[in-house]
Symmetry: C2
Subunit: 161 residues, 2 copies
């Protein structure tokens, strides 16, 4: 239990020496994980009303960014298995936020598109969710926010692969 007491900020700067990397990097992993878990728990639970869930917003955002996608492509981009995406899409379709129609030349594929209403709901939901996180972020220093901005591509890399 004594090793758990070591503070994150005690970690020395990375010297670029390869032999030292594993130790530092694995300690970074151990520090990063619980923080991410707790923060995302907060973000996920933050919903104004029994409206659209975060997973649904995430899928709709990807559709807004990339345009219509097959169900499988969408699942891959979201990093979930096809059956999980099927369930998300069924709920979204029932609410009239997306449509599924079969691909013209390969009828196995289900091409998913945002509806007009889906686009509107996405915008409104994002605004509400952003408000909450924006207030949190406003409590940071402007330097911290700058660094966070820089970090986003890194976090994105970590989440992909």
């Amino acid at each position: 239990m004594s090793s758990a007491a070591r503070s994150v900020t005690d970690v020395p700067d990375d010297t670029g020496r390869t032999g030292e990397h594993d130790l530092h990097t694995s300690e970074l992993a151990g520090s990063l994980r619980p923080v991410l878990v707790r923060l995302t728990r907060q973000i996920r639970m933050q919903r104004s009303d029994p409206s659209v869930s975060l997973t649904q917003i995430s899928a709709m955002s990807t559709l807004a960014r990339h345009g219509p996608l097959s169900a499988g492509d969408l699942a891959a981009r979201e990093g979930v298995r096809p059956p999980s995406m099927t369930k998300v899409l069924a709920a979204l379709e029932e609410d009239g936020l997306v449509t599924r129609r079969s691909h013209p030349s390969d009828r196995r594929q289900a091409i998913v598109s945002l509806t007009t209403r889906g686009t509107e709901v996405l915008r409104a939901e994002r605004r509400m969710r952003d408000e909450w996180l924006t207030q949190r972020l406003a409590g940071l220093s402007s330097q911290e926010r700058s660094l966070l901005r820089e970090l986003i591509p890194t976090l994105d890399t970590l989440s992909q692969d």
Copy 2:
């Protein structure tokens, strides 16, 4: 849909002007959220076998750090509601990883402690989980890892409050 096409990296540096903050900060929120959600989804699903879940590890880590806690205190530290914690604790107790005994002078309280076996399992699980995330982190540049290290306290602040 046109506004969604704006790239994250287009965001200009924060000039320190207060009137401009809201716009930038809310865009930061919108960029940060999906990245965090996807990354944590990956982390949560990464489990070697039908062993201990991430939520369980998180609760056990808090017990290891702070020593025995009442069920309510533990729930508050983890940022979940008491009934959620009750469920987590019931599973952990059934597996012999924690004990619940009533507080000597206030018998409403249930004091939760890690067992010896719980401490061992926690250490082993952390090692396995760290391995996975460490490999991801190893794919980053050492500059990216430094930035990440610097920002852990910031992310921690965001997750608390």
